[in-house]
């Protein structure tokens, strides 16, 4: 028991990339990711999904949101590849890609595309269909990454 506890602690401290500050507002997002679900706040009034965690709707201006699951399917909306290292934890991965994915339901998320054989941007073009993959990085945090869609094309 004691050894197991130390071992788990070791895993956590090995992860050196930035971790999201899990706040009262963002906790449902990260909790769902741990359960392999992508969920976001959705306006009670006009149905717009948000990628920020506040009770106000930027579309209709009203107060009130609820959490709702999304399909996890979308398309690459923009992409880039970091050669410069801004976060020491990413040094070993450089160059690494970042993409903005537009989900089928409309909202856009920053993410990484995984499962790209050579890691080049041409392998992950804008418009490419992708699907969410849930990657556990610590005991508390599961990141929502995406891979080229393998299911039925939407």
């Amino acid at each position: 028991m004691h050894v197991d506890h130390l071992w788990k602690g070791c895993i956590v401290s090995d992860y050196t990339k930035p971790l999201p500050p899990i706040t009262e507002q963002s906790k449902p997002f990260w909790d769902a990711a741990r359960e392999r679900r992508l969920q976001l706040p959705r306006c009670d009034h006009c149905g717009t999904f948000h990628t920020y965690f506040e009770p106000w709707c930027s579309h209709c201006g009203k107060e009130g949101v609820h959490w709702e699951s999304l399909s996890g399917r979308g398309r690459i909306w923009a992409n880039c590849r970091f050669h410069k290292v801004y976060f020491p934890g990413f040094a070993a991965d450089s160059p690494y890609n970042v993409a903005m994915v537009e989900l089928d339901e409309g909202p856009r998320l920053m993410t990484n595309i995984i499962g790209i054989p050579n890691g080049s941007l041409s392998e992950m073009p804008i418009g490419m269909q992708v699907e969410a993959v849930f990657v556990d990085v610590t005991d508390e945090v599961t990141l929502v990454k995406f891979r080229p869609a393998v299911g039925d094309p939407a």
């Binding site: 990339k17 930035p18 971790l19 999201p20 500050p21 706040t23 963002s26 990628t51 920020y52 965690f53 506040e54 930027s58 909306w77 923009a78 992409n79 880039c80 590849r81 970091f82 050669h83 410069k84 801004y86 976060f87 990413f90 991965d93 160059p95 690494y96 970042v98 903005m100 856009r108 998320l109 920053m110 993410t111 990484n112 941007l121 073009p125 804008i126 418009g127 990085v137 945090v141 990141l143 990454k145």
Partner: protein, 381 residues
């Protein structure tokens, strides 16, 4: 429609001061601002005590600034140290003069970013709706990466190429070679551009501006007063800003709609057309925004910005000589302020090899997210 339209000589720039640019040990941002303001006051032929409005940008310690300059302004304020704030800072000065509340206003910028180790991107660079929450865990950060992504979309939608970005970088360096104050003066070729290392692909080192130490100050006053001063006045003929902050860091339209609105207002205020403009100063923290600004402010149709910059359009001798000091890419990243200084100096004339002949109107374009344009005129009408 505006006080400027009713009376064309409402507001003029009567003093311009700049420091050296580079690594300036021994000067913090406040000190660089004081250096610039002293030069501007000397240029204007006035005493610091003649300045009754002080608006500081980036140098946040307005109290130390006023203590050391030993002045008694009737307005003291400071705006946040982001380049997007430059247009708005000048707008405050213009409004204060137009309203008659103040006679002579100094806008003062001091930036010790190089010596202080300023970094864009990384842990401290968190603004808008939560980069630490949704961006940093995936390694996403920095304004350069935002521009890289926007450029990728522009390329996918309109076929814009890296060589077209290179044409901008090469043009501004060509201008810097003619400017003794520029930090990077060694001419570059397209091959040099294409060989420069990726920072955030597809953007390279030579797509990025140069972080340095430096300061810029402008002194503005009403037209009546300006006529009798040391320098030939340069008139603020139009100024307009439209925010696109609501669209987030990556707007669907590259800020096009907001810039179109700002363009309409600034031309109506100045009562001139694009065709009348002799030179441009375009906020160039990264090359792609030059293309977005040219499209947004209507110098070419949407999607045509890449093709527009080919063939020397932005070079001295081209139709719209742009950033004739080398801009942020090659003179120094003074967050829009060195572009104001260059606009005014072009209109005064006498810039030797980099002088645009017979300059009557120079337009400043800031592509976003606080899309701004200012038209400066050699004459009041």
């Amino acid at each position: 429609m505006s006080l400027i339209s009713k009376r064309k000589d409402s507001v003029a720039v009567v003093g311009v001061g700049t420091t050296d640019y580079g690594a300036l040990a021994g000067h913090d941002a406040t000190s660089l601002g004081i250096w610039a303001l002293r030069n501007a006051a000397e240029d204007a032929g006035i005493n610091l005590h003649d300045i009754d409005g002080l608006i500081c940008q980036r140098l946040t310690d307005y109290q130390k600034f006023v203590q050391i300059t030993n002045t008694t302004p009737r307005l003291v304020t400071a705006t946040p140290g982001a380049g997007r704030m430059t247009g708005g800072t000048i707008q405050i000065a213009v409004q204060a003069i137009l309203s008659g509340m103040l006679d002579t206003v100094a806008v003062v910028y001091g930036n010790d970013g190089r010596s202080a180790g300023a970094r864009y991107g990384g842990k401290g660079d968190n603004y808008g709706t939560g980069a630490d929450q949704m961006w940093f865990p995936y390694g996403m950060t920095s304004p350069g990466a935002v521009h890289a992504m926007l450029f990728q979309r522009h390329a996918a939608m309109y076929g814009t190429t890296n060589e077209q970005l290179g044409a901008i970088s090469v043009a501004f360096r060509k201008h810097a070679a003619l400017n003794p104050a520029a930090v990077m003066r060694k001419p570059i070729s397209m091959d040099d551009y294409l060989a420069s290392k990726f920072i955030c692909e597809p953007l390279r080192l030579l797509d990025y501006c140069l972080i340095n130490d430096g300061g810029v100050a402008l002194i503005l006053t009403g037209g009546d007063r300006a006529k009798d001063m040391k320098q030939r006045p340069v008139y603020v003929r139009g100024l307009a800003q439209v925010s696109r902050l609501a669209q987030g860091e990556l707007p669907d339209d590259f800020g096009f709609a907001a810039m179109q609105r700002a363009a309409k207002t600034v031309y109506e205020m100045a009562e001139v057309n694009r065709e009348d403009i002799d030179a441009l100063m375009i906020y160039d923290n990264f090359t792609p925004i030059v293309i977005f600004a040219l499209e947004g402010f209507g110098f070419c149709p949407q999607g045509e910005g890449g093709r527009f910059v080919e063939g020397g359009t932005l070079e001295l001798g081209g139709r719209f000589p742009t950033n004739t000091n080398g801009g942020h890419l090659s003179e120094s990243y003074m967050q829009g302020w060195n572009l104001q200084a260059e606009a005014i100096r072009q209109l005064r004339g006498g810039l030797a090899e980099r002088q645009v002949p017979d300059t009557q109107l120079v337009q400043y374009l800031q592509g976003g997210p606080l899309c701004t344009s200012i038209i400066y005129g050699r004459d009041a009408s």
